[in-house]
Symmetry: C2
Subunit: 313 residues, 2 copies
């Protein structure tokens, strides 16, 4: 038997209930090359909520010049037949976007910042601190309007430019977000390079600023690590995760590679562990199959592929 | 915060070193439809050992009538330029197979049994107990010849016919294998339906018969759960795993679905966690790319796909 190493942070129990935010319609489709009609996006949201999803990241209020895929934000938001108990969130990159979003009455908005200075500079041409400062009026306006504010911390374990991102950087962004009134943070492994201990250290850093009830995990499956990272997070008591139906959303930093972890794969693991999600896996697989057919490509979910192969005999 | 559930068995430390057995040449290629020339199999073994694999499951001594893909067993075994410190194992389903294998001087043989009576009956037309009893003379002969004997316990968490397989069934097969002198057991999630707590319970059952140093995990990635299951096993101190380069080996129970977990994906996780394997990931990806090109299909490894996409820019 080899010698043993690194203690791992694990309480003796796991959450009995997990809440998933399906980010497929926004974070997923935004990274898909081909345009998707608003009616298809609306149908996808309808199928996700029918499958039991209680929160859906619907769209983004960003300039159509930069993200043409989300130009139909108002059309999509106003076309959704909302279900009571379901929360609809949207990405708002600035005050102008927030004001447009406000008219469409989202339940939550998402603001964002990177844990890597290089990523922040390359993506939004400013420092991490400046990017968070710019969000302050957005957060103020949202909270004044009674809208819940989530913050997404990208590159929380690795960066395509800087490589390794230390936990201290996650704590730094979390502290900045907390200072402007962000109510919940998502610790995002944007490029999927995280592995369980690194993810636990990043979450541990976030936990020095936010409580476990105000932290989500957002793991990409580019290197197939997302479920192991989800397990590692569950073991710390984290019970909220972002996932994307059918694994929608490629990885812009590695062509042909997988992006967001598939909701189906996470649900399969959770249900297999006796953890409730309120989601009907079969209906979810159907929702994923619907959008995969619309995109004309196989689902990015291994669970969906295996279950569909089984159904086909 | 939701209430908490099920204690999970986790010592405070993780193994610092993990040994992987690459089962691609045997368990992997056996499930590939197209014939693969012996020279390609030999080259694959050479590339795996050059990448740092210390154990390789090379072939099977089973009737070519049943498994034509392994009819070249002697040609492959005698064509390998063996490296000191590397162990070469082969599957031997019966005494006739073992006698043929013996002439080719394997370091280890693998015998097998299912943890599901239905699977045993459908696959080898006898009960679990009968199947293990039939292996007794094979094990005797191997140990008399100084050859190490591994036992593979298939369907250790789920069965395509019976569904759920209880941990008691794993304990039952492990006890039978121990009684005939099998020295090491592999707890195999043959159809990939396992999730972390189920896998931990199956391993826990195995641990009531064998020590942790004599147990391997063998997880299929059909539902994308293999890395999470590997993490769950590591947390119990299990430090030996079977994996398959490029994820070779489809799942015969779900067409088009993934089978064995890819060695590359496991190595990526382990190295990311600071756990040593002695394997050079880049050389391993190249070995996987070699066999994938020979088979004319993309690698089943997410790590390989992401790294190759990155190399291509």
């Amino acid at each position: 038997m080899p010698t043993m190493q690194t203690p791992i942070r694990t309480p003796a129990t796991l959450p009995s209930l997990v809440e998933l935010v399906d980010v497929g319609p926004r974070d997923g489709l935004q990274n898909e090359k081909q345009p998707v009609p608003a009616a298809v996006k609306i149908e996808l949201v309808h199928r996700l909520q029918a499958a039991g999803l209680k929160e859906i990241e619907v769209t983004s209020y960003v300039s159509p010049k930069w993200v043409p895929q989300m130009a139909d934000n108002t059309e999509v938001m106003s076309g959704i037949q909302r279900l009571p108990g379901v929360r609809y969130s949207v990405l708002t990159p600035n005050l102008k976007g927030f004001e447009a979003a406000l008219r469409d009455q989202p339940d939550e908005i998402v603001v964002f910042g990177a844990a890597s200075e290089a990523f922040s500079q390359k993506n939004i041409n400013c420092s991490i601190a400046e990017s968070i400062e710019r969000f302050a009026p957005v957060v103020d306006a949202a909270r004044a309007a009674g809208i819940y504010v989530r913050g997404a911390i990208s590159c929380a374990v690795g960066c395509p430019y800087e490589g390794y991102v230390p936990p201290e950087s996650v704590k730094y962004v979390a502290t900045l977000m907390s200072s402007i009134g962000v109510q919940h943070i998502g610790v995002a492994d944007t490029i999927g390079v995280g592995t369980p201990l690194k993810v636990q250290r990043a979450l541990d850093a976030a936990l020095s600023v936010y409580t476990v009830d105000d932290i989500s995990g957002h793991f990409h499956d580019t290197y197939g690590q997302a479920l192991a990272n989800t397990l590692a997070a569950l073991e710390m008591g984290v019970w909220q995760f972002d996932t994307s139906v059918a694994g929608l959303g490629g990885c812009p930093y590695a062509k042909g590679a997988t992006g967001n972890v598939a909701t189906e794969d996470v649900v399969y693991m959770l249900h297999g562990m006796g953890i409730e999600t309120g989601i009907d896996l079969d209906a979810l697989v159907d929702a994923g199959q619907y959008i995969s057919e619309q995109l004309g490509r196989p689902s990015g979910s291994r669970v969906a592929r295996a279950l569909l192969a089984k159904r086909a005999g």
